[in-house]
């Protein structure tokens, strides 16, 4: 119902604006002389009060201009300022595209001045890191593995392609972190569209907000947010890649767009992953019939095939008087995943699997300067996708692949369930620029969840008894002031409301609301020395999967309370050059978190499944640091280091009157010291002109950590205190680009030393793997 309202609103708005748009307007496209869009360029009509700023795609638009002759000034950092004369005629739409020359003198003094959007993002007051995805287009990385290289972030994977992942941000993980794609919450996209199966090529950049989440990402994140910004940099292009590698892994990505001169556009992203994931693991194995024990067998995984296929298509218009962008789209996808192990490798399966699909129509609407300085963005989508869990083989497997029939309860709990979560989402955002430096924004995000399904093998399954429904609304209001390269500040508030309808065995309806607020301030001591600080009182509502269970691994806990946290960040960044050729960038940050009613997953009483529960309190302090170095334009190296200490502040455990022996103990099973290093060398004109060769190396280090409470149990080698061992992983890649990047051939080796790598206790990740990646990129710019 709510969705319909929003759709209607969008259509009405579109009508209203098309009627209004009779006055004389000026619009156009700002690009560099290399053809790339220049965002955040100031576009000003001299001798008038009219001005605007180009958007991420380099587009600008000034409305309601009096007819006459003007001088248009276009100014952007890293570029030479340009002035152009033009005349505005009555009742006519004027178009003016501008190409800016790069400002060489500025480039030489400090290389970072010619900032990419990713670098611009990093200059916000928030504790944010943006990953420039474009630099990774010739790799086989998915989004989650690209994020693994960010300071403060650790992505824990349970296996190979398509395996379960858990991204942790300053020690927060799982549902404490929210995901967005172009600012739209991804909370309930289902298993077919997740950051571990979206290739990096779909993104332009990925922004990681640590601890304090901007108001415009309307959500109830506790510990931070990840925003995937997709590429609409090019209007007419094809970017296609295919890779093949170890464990019979195939991946393909096709991104393409066509835009006609009158603004009609079709955008397409399609991708596919397939892998047998049949890598060898070291495992405690026993014969299912005799119990014959082999403490360190090396065996191939035999039931771990994963594949997914996704198509995202958008059709609509751009640069119209009634809309900068109006797109109707659909996301279609499916995935198939065999489940090889339980939470431990000791529990091995040979028949369990999962399927899911996503059928999600969507609407995207964006219009700048509806009225002077007022921008509107509307998004809506509805996921009609289905999830299925299948466990119908009655019996057990061993690691040798032998099956022993037994009982009537499947391998882990007989199920043949099929359900829809019916997730709907609508967001609206109004941004008003009071002046060149100040703006206020109002945002509202509404989401709904309504699970319906059945379990053919277990009709009494409580997951499908009665209504399981939640509605959530997040309303945000914020004010920002931004004096470019001097200082900026923002202050915001969020009001979150959630209503839960729960029928069945664990019946109980509830509604809850919370108010949160935050602020972020940054100050530039010099344009290249930045200090930042941010704070937020965050609240997170329990997720539908935590309240109702996820049908597969998670049990319901309808009594779960919202969690809240006080998050504080301090940071500094400094860029400088030595002898003009040696460029350095150093950044460091400190974080403090104090969470109450902290929601964490514990094992249920039979250890078969997880259940979300509240902990009285958890505190975190930590810091991360990043150093980057480049020499001229061919050598680049960097390192990030993160340390974080999470402490249990629950003083009394239920049922006991004495102080808990675990009070103030370090939280278990959370990586607390880790880092990355990378070096890359780019050689230009190798073989022939416009061909380049890049050789890159990546190092990942994760310090060992304990699975269970660190203070309990003996730690000597033979005491078997369960530890997730130190990880040291080396990746190497070679990229040969021909014809200025139109054709690319890449060879990648992951886990070069074939080390036994674990992110989670006993769940071994793949050994040494090779991938060959071919990519074709073609861009035709029709703005000329």
């Amino acid at each position: 119902m709510q969705i319909n309202k929003f759709l209607l609103t969008g259509v009405l708005c579109a009508l209203v604006f098309s009627i209004k748009a009779q006055a004389q307007n000026l619009s156009g496209f700002v690009k560099s002389n290399r053809g790339e869009p220049v965002p955040a360029a100031t576009v000003r009509l001299q001798n008038s009060s009219l001005w605007t700023i180009s958007d991420h795609d380099g587009h600008y638009r000034i409305k309601n201009i009096k007819p006459g002759t003007y001088i248009l000034m276009i100014k952007a950092i890293g570029f030479k300022t340009q002035e152009k004369e033009l005349s505005i005629e009555s009742g006519k739409e004027t178009t003016l595209n501008v190409a800016l020359a790069e400002s060489t003198e500025q480039m030489e003094t400090v290389t970072v001045t010619g900032r990419t959007i990713a670098q611009e993002t990093n200059r916000q007051a928030f504790n944010v890191t943006a990953v420039d995805a474009r630099k990774l287009y010739n790799t086989t990385l998915d989004i989650s593995s690209a994020l693994d290289r960010v300071a403060g972030v650790r992505v824990r994977e349970s296996g190979g392609v398509g395996s379960n992942f858990n991204l942790s941000l300053n020690g927060f993980s799982g549902n404490h972190i929210r995901y967005f794609i172009d600012g739209i919450p991804m909370d309930n996209f289902g298993s077919s569209f997740q950051i571990n199966n979206i290739p990096i090529n779909v993104a332009d950049r990925v922004e990681v907000y640590k601890g304090v989440v901007p108001m415009w990402l309307g959500s109830d994140a506790l510990g931070g947010a990840v925003n995937i910004v997709t590429s609409d940099r090019y209007r007419n292009y094809v970017d296609a890649s295919y890779s093949y590698g170890s464990f019979n892994t195939h991946r393909s990505v096709i991104n393409a767009a066509v835009t006609s001169k009158n603004g009609f556009t079709v955008q397409l992203n399609a991708f596919q992953n397939y892998s047998d994931n049949d890598y060898k693991v070291k495992v405690e194995a026993w014969d299912i019939y005799t119990g014959a024990f082999s403490p360190a067998a090396r065996l191939r995984r035999f039931h771990d095939t994963y594949h997914n296929e996704t198509l995202i298509a958008n059709i609509g218009v751009v640069d119209k008087s009634y809309a900068d962008k109006l797109l109707l789209g659909i996301t279609l996808g499916q995935n198939y995943k065999e489940i090889q192990t339980g939470a431990r490798m000791e529990a091995v399966f040979g028949g369990r699997h999962r399927r899911g699909n996503i059928i999600m129509p969507s609407l995207k609407y964006k219009k700048t300067n509806i009225a002077k300085g007022l921008d509107l963005t509307i998004n809506a989508n509805y996921n009609l996708g289905t999830e299925r869990n299948i466990d119908t083989l009655n019996g057990n497997f061993d690691w040798y692949g032998s099956f022993k029939p037994l009982g009537a309860n499947g391998e882990s709990g007989r199920t043949l369930s099929k359900y829809k979560n019916n997730n709907g989402l609508a967001t609206a955002m109004l941004n008003y620029r009071i002046s060149e430096t100040q703006s206020i924004a109002l945002s509202n995000v509404f989401s709904t969840f309504n699970r319906k399904g059945r379990d053919a093998a277990n009709p009494a399954n409580d997951a499908f008894q009665g209504k399981k429904k939640t509605d959530k609304n997040v309303l945000g209001l914020g004010y920002s002031i931004d004096v470019r390269d001097k200082w900026s500040a923002t202050i915001f508030g969020k009001y979150i409301y959630q209503n839960i309808i729960n029928e069945g065995k664990t019946a109980g309806n509830s509604s809850m609301n919370k108010i949160g607020y935050g602020t972020a301030v940054t100050y530039f001591v010099t344009p290249n020395l930045q200090l930042k600080s941010s704070y937020e009182l965050t609240n997170r509502m329990p997720e539908a999967n935590e309240i109702f269970g996820d049908v597969e691994n998670q049990n319901a806990n309808p009594g779960l309370r919202p969690e809240k946290s006080n998050n504080l960040n301090l940071g500094a960044g400094y860029g400088f050059s030595v002898n003009t050729n040696n460029n350095f960038y150093v950044a460091a940050g400190a974080v403090y978190r104090r969470s109450d009613d902290f929601i964490y997953n514990r094992l249920d009483i039979n250890q078969a499944r997880l259940i979300a529960d509240n902990r009285e309190g958890v505190s975190t302090w930590g810091g991360d640091a990043e150093v980057r170095y480049s020499y001229k334009d061919w050598l680049s190296a960097g390192t990030t280091v993160t340390y974080q200490f999470l402490r249990n502040l629950q003083k009394y455990e239920p049922e006991y009157t004495g102080v808990s022996p675990l009070y103030r103990d370090q939280m278990p099973n959370i990586p607390y010291f880790f880092g990355n290093g990378d070096v890359s060398v780019s050689l230009k004109n190798v073989g022939r002109k416009n061909n380049s060769l890049t050789i890159g190396y990546n190092l990942l280090y994760v310090h060992a950590f304990w699975l269970y409470w660190p203070s309990r149990g003996a730690k000597d080698a033979d005491a078997e205190k369960r530890e997730v061992a130190q990880q040291l992983s080396h990746d190497v890649n070679f990229v040969y680009s021909l014809a200025g990047g139109r054709y690319n051939v890449a060879l990648e080796c992951k886990n070069l030393t074939n080390a036994d790598l674990y992110d989670n206790f006993s769940l071994q990740k793949p050994g040494r793997a090779f991938y060959l990646n071919l990519r074709y990129f073609f861009n035709k710019n029709n703005h000329n």
Binding site: G291, N396, V586, L603, N606, Q607, Y656, P661
Partner: protein, 408 residues
């Protein structure tokens, strides 16, 4: 700027130092000895217990802090047999496991680990460990048994027994435990409806049954019955004891239920099977409920010389899963019950350990008493004086088992 760099460097250095300090302890904090305590810390989801070796149980204190071998799982059950210590994982929907240790120089050392089914009864039989997974669904009439050879640590045999046939009353037989008696396996059981919401309920609350199986064939040879008591033992509780002269004693807790209400009309009592016979001794009946002033036995520990340390609940405390916090001494020949003095008041006790140690000298038993503060003590019970003496303090968790295995 310089200071920022310095601070960054200092922070990094600190992080490295902190992280390297927190490891590399070569000097061990693990204790050694022939006694083995299983201790569960509160809030330790994922860890059933820490197994701590200790040289004695009489005094001093010991802790799970930096001490003990982690045992995976929510529940683990322990048994020592044939010079080895077995740790059995229990999880209803999860596979079970058997982990085997030897005690070498006073430290448990892992020998083997394999997955089995979660079983509801296990016991040493000859050189084997017999494990039985018992169905609780009337649609499934077969209990699975596994015979683990404790020398080879291999599953040497397995099979099924039909749990509908022993009573043949339309209900399912659920073994409360199994026990080797002579060269047979005795399996006392309770009759359960095993369907719908009435899984462990019964329409036959006033009978006792022991199914007798051959070994190693596990063929049902006989069902020994008695109508003077309710069923023998309780869920996951050994209700049989073989004394020195070969007589077998059995206790009934009288906790049969229907619709979640206790329904038996029989008192909690102790009965007997004379050595060499396979019938209840009709001339022997010890009405425990009468002797104890209305209490019922929930568990016992045979300490030798016809003496038992028993746990009991009062009439108010009685429940089908409640484990008694009242401790007394029973002499089965003299039919006497005496409460033990010197234990903490019942309202301060969180739990009494279910799996305890006795040297079987007829006099002493060592039992774990856990306090609501979150720690516990080993109490040394002297059957001759009916007194309990506070011994070893166990910190950082509650005691779930007290075992002994002489080290090699």
């Amino acid at each position: 700027m310089k200071t920022i760099l310095q601070k960054t460097a200092a922070a990094l250095a600190m992080a490295i130092v902190v992280s390297s300090c927190s490891k590399d302890e070569n000097e061990t904090t693990a204790t050694r000895g022939d006694f083995i305590l299983a201790v569960t810390p509160a809030a330790s989801t994922g860890v059933a217990d820490y197994l701590i070796n200790t040289p004695q149980l009489e005094s001093g204190k010991i802790s799970t802090e930096e001490n003990g071998i982690e045992q995976d799982g929510t529940y683990r059950y322990y048994v020592t047999h044939n010079g080895k210590f077995f740790s059995m994982l229990y999880g209803q929907q999860n596979p079970g496991a058997v982990t085997t240790y030897e005690n070498i120089n006073g430290k448990l050392t892992k020998k083997s680990n394999f997955r089995t089914e979660t079983v509801q009864a296990f016991a040493p039989v000859n050189d084997d460990l017999l494990l039985v997974k018992i169905p609780r669904n009337i649609a499934n009439p077969l209990a699975n048994w596994y015979r683990v050879n404790t020398n080879s640590l291999l599953i040497e045999g397995e099979g099924t027994v039909d749990v509908h046939t022993p009573s043949n009353n339309g209900e399912s037989a659920f073994f409360s435990w199994i026990k080797q008696v002579g060269n047979k396996v005795y399996a006392p059981y309770f009759s359960i409806v095993a369907s719908g919401d009435e899984v462990f309920g019964t329409n036959h609350p006033d009978g006792a049954w022991i199914a007798v199986y051959s070994y190693p064939g596990m063929q049902l040879e006989k069902v020994i019955t008695d109508d003077r008591t309710s069923f023998i033992g309780r869920y996951f509780t050994d209700g049989l004891a073989v004394v020195e002269n070969g007589d077998v004693y059995a206790f009934s807790a009288s906790v049969a239920i229907k619709n979640k209400v206790l329904t038996s009309t029989k008192p909690s009592a102790i009965t007997r099977l004379k050595a060499g016979t396979d019938e209840f001794d009709r001339s022997y009946f010890f009405d425990f409920e009468a002797a104890s002033g209305g209490m019922n036995i929930t568990n016992w520990l045979y300490i030798g010389n016809n003496n038992f340390i028993v746990n009991a609940t009062t009439r108010a405390e009685k429940g089908n899963y409640t484990i008694g916090k009242n401790i007394g001494i029973v002499n089965v020949v003299n039919k006497t019950f005496t409460k033990v003095d010197g234990l903490p008041p019942v309202d301060q006790i969180y739990s009494i350990t279910n799996n305890n140690y006795t040297p079987k000298d007829g006099r002493y038993g060592y039992i774990g008493v856990n306090l609501k503060e979150g720690w516990g003590y080993i109490y040394k019970i002297d059957a001759s004086t009916h007194t309990a003496t506070q011994g070893l303090k166990v910190e950082g968790g509650v005691i779930t088992a007290v075992q002994y295995l002489k080290s090699k």
